[in-house]
């Protein structure tokens, strides 16, 4: 079952995190020849409400499209964690921004803290790059997909004219995650 991977991106509506799921799925399909599905969850309010997107990647066609054992979760809001912090494998990699998420189950999961929002604010000066920084950080922490595949998918999906800043944002996230792994 090593050719099966599940990822969840949870945040609040408006942070643009749904796009991150799409990019991971496209990376798997287009650049690694795998199958992937993504399913966003909407809540009653779109802006400000907790939201998530789940991505499943497999070497075979995916029948059941709901997550059952998540390998990686990114979370950018405490109430999103409270609502969506389930279906995770015991050793799941959980990436959080410590300024936004304060309480997760440290015993069960491998928790990594990265100031994603601060990096985005300081280095990119535009919050629309939160997704790109997050994807870079995911690529830095995980190895199921090649980080080049994720980067290529990000470039492909970026709105025209924003490719370069998105690449930069990705690198900031990637390098920060790699630094974190060294410590």
């Amino acid at each position: 079952m090593s050719d099966h991977y599940e990822a969840r991106f949870a945040a609040v509506g408006g942070q643009g995190i749904l796009l991150a799921g799409d990019i991971i799925a496209v990376a798997a399909i287009t650049f690694e020849g795998l199958y992937a599905v993504d399913s966003p969850t909407y809540t009653a309010q779109v802006r400000g409400g907790p939201t998530k997107v789940d991505v499943i990647i497999d070497s075979k066609r995916i029948e059941f499209t709901r997550t059952t054992a998540i390998d990686f979760m990114l979370c950018l809001a405490q109430h999103s964690w409270d609502r969506f912090g389930f279906d995770l494998k015991d050793n799941c990699i959980v990436l959080i921004d410590p300024s936004l998420v304060h309480k997760v189950d440290e015993e069960r999961y491998r928790v990594y803290r990265l100031p994603i929002i601060e990096i985005t604010k300081k280095k990119m000066r535009k919050m629309v790059y939160t997704s790109a920084v997050s994807l870079g950080a995911m690529a830095g922490l995980t190895s199921f997909l090649k980080h080049e595949s994720i980067k290529k998918a990000l470039r492909k999906k970026a709105p025209r004219g924003t490719e370069e800043p998105n690449m930069k944002a990705f690198d900031y996230g990637f390098n920060a995650a790699r630094e974190l792994l060294k410590t």
Partner: protein, 383 residues
Amino acid sequence: MKNKNKNEREVVFWPGNIVVAEAAIAAGCRFFAGYPITPSSEIAHALSKRLPEVGGKFIQMEDEIAAMGALIGASLTGLKVFTATSGPGFSLKQENIGYASIIEAPCVIVNVMRGGPSTGLPTALGQSDVMQARWGTHGDRPVIALTPSYLDEVYSETIRAFNLAEMLRMPVFVLIDEVLGHLSERLEIPDPSEYELIDRPRPTVPPEEYIPYDSSQGDVPPMADYFTGYRWHTTGLNHDKTGFPTTDPKICQEEEERMERKVSSNLDKIISYDEFMTEDAEIGVVAFGSTARAAMVAVSDARDKGIKAGLLRPITLWPFPEEPARELGKKVKGIVVAEANLGQMIYEVERVAGCNGPVIGSNKVGGVPIYPGEILEKIEELV
């Protein structure tokens, strides 16, 4: 995401709702009237941009009832038309669906099913409109409802819905659900040369000889486009071949039977289903739409455990695929009917399968899909 693969089929990664919208355009649809409702709203959203690009019209109406009315009007002018909605909106459209049925106006209605009665669970899965699709509108009339399970099937079945609507001059439903509407998966867009597009039969006689409901050449009367010189009267009242009202019992009986026959004599063109490991099955599973994908896994898992399970997956839900259900019922010692409602299709399976053993449901409401393990438990109950 768009790529061309070696067969020149376009490979895309779209959510199900966008697949519906694009398939409708590929089917030749040039008119959409609707009122946005979760979880179908992306269909309307996409078409508000896409239809004008291909010379079509998009109208957001004041409510679902008006949208269905606009749809019928546009159909009468000769356009291929459709609307998209969800449970409560589908209910509001039902009266006009009856009207479309009796005047025999081709139209497609996509219902992206959600949870609960009334406002219910707008952002979550449900499959509770099985019987609404069959019996939702008043009166006797034929019904076609298609229930794809995969996004490539959503594409092909949406096209087929337009073809059947046009071929038989009647409303055709496509029932998907929140899971399929919002799910994105890889699919290959077939080249237009790979499928056939069907247009409604049109009159071959000059306007002065046109008889609107002339069924002398077959059960589907040729339909003239409004505003082309052909004059005809549409009414929700029972009518004779001129289109004007009648209460003549014999004519009313004949006309209603003719409409029913449009479906009953074309079952081979309408009914579609898929079977997985049913040849030697001892336990049957019947499931449609997104739930059928969980059932596929359950059947595979059962086989791994040495249980001979097999799945019948109706792609046409109405008219129900009675033949394969009967065949399945003959050979198995019990059937599990898995559906994301409290038990609707199970009535149809019980009625037609003639199974000697028990027919039990695997049911779930509340917006969360049925897991393969839950269906497997039911399969094991029957062993």
